[in-house]
Amino acid sequence: MRLHIDWTACDGRGVCTELLEEMLTEDDWGYPVLRDGKGEIPRALDGAARRAVDRCPRLALKLTQQ
């Protein structure tokens, strides 16, 4: 599974970067940066990723297969 950021929706509120520190950092303007550049979700972070998706105030995070 992969984490997908819909940039047309993301407001850089910073909730996901807290909930998913292992995968995300913030850029100079507070928008999330995928650490691996691709959004590959390690099995161990499955739950955290789902929670980040659920808590995004802009619904800008999605889980995608592939």
Binding site: I5, W7, T8, D28, Y31
Partner: protein
Amino acid sequence: MTSVAEAPTGRVEQRLLDGEVGLDAHLARHGRLPILDSSQIIGMARDAGLTGRGGAGFPVWRKLSAVAQAGGAAVVVANAAEGEPASRKDRALLAYQPNLVLDGLQLAAAATRAKAAHLYAPKAALPALRRLLVARRTAGLDRLEVTLHAAPDAFVSGEESAVVSAINGTGAVPADKRIRIIQAGVGGAPTLVQNVETLAHLALIARYGAGWFLTAGTADEPGTFLATVSGAVRRPGVIEAGYGVPLGDLIAAAGGATMPLQAVLIGGYHGGWVPADPALPVSRRALEPFGASPGAGVVVALPANACGLGETARIAGYLADQVAGQCGPCINGLPRMAATLADLAARRPRPGLPAEVERLARLVSGRGACRHPDGTARLVLSAMRAFEADVVAHLHGRCLATEGHR
């Protein structure tokens, strides 16, 4: 650089742009389209190795068959939006051989069994196209009615999902790529968006066959392409040539350089700088080592006395201005990257400046709904490499190009 030797067939030649203007001349020269079914058209596109001429260079047959198999009534769109300031080829094609484009659109519709066809073009091109469509209808040429749409004159308006959004009436704005327009595009239907030049090639392939198409270009990049040559050349304009054409031939076809050249921008404002080597083949393969590609055929010749960093900073500033405004990293990152490069170009150095340009370029890449940040970053990074000596000079308050040290 083995590809240099492997590109013997590329040369300047007229296929699309050849012949007289007008519907009668078109019919006299090429005749009516043969009646072909979906699998025949897709097969021909595959055998010809036809790729998209809008910039991405994706194999046409794969897109055609994906839309044909998506299920549901498909929609086809001919894309003539040309927001790229250095490109003129789609406008030229629509002005000189619009019938090839419209033929190709009907072929794409037949291949995908589409129920609707659209042509998205700059407003200025629409009145003539409207008259032509009436004439073609009278002549019984178009099986599927074509709806015209005005493309805003802006850089990102021709991006695939922006084209779909524009036709859907929600503004020419790129959309998130999670939903693929091949599955759900115009009105939610499976949609094929294809550059007008690509469609015109398809119209010729349908008449003269894949074998004929393969006689131009290189073995792995067959066919001709339209190049818009500008900058320090005597007769800037649109030139047709086979892929792999030596850069020098393109420049010569544009009247030759007005002065010694320092570098050439290939692929447009989202392209890359390559050395002004007349023998360099213009093909995906030969340009790849420079991080460039033929893209939509843009070739801009930079004279030896112009500062490449300054020119790139100007373009980067323009691109930063042309953001759609939707994506945070792009609307913040591109202006910052452009301004940082402008500081370097204007010889306002500060510690870590070149590294900062590169950091910003990597930061914005891949972080937008469309590839505008990626393309802008690619251009900037290629300038940092191509004008490396001048980067060092600028940090010491000098400019090699404008001081004539070359």
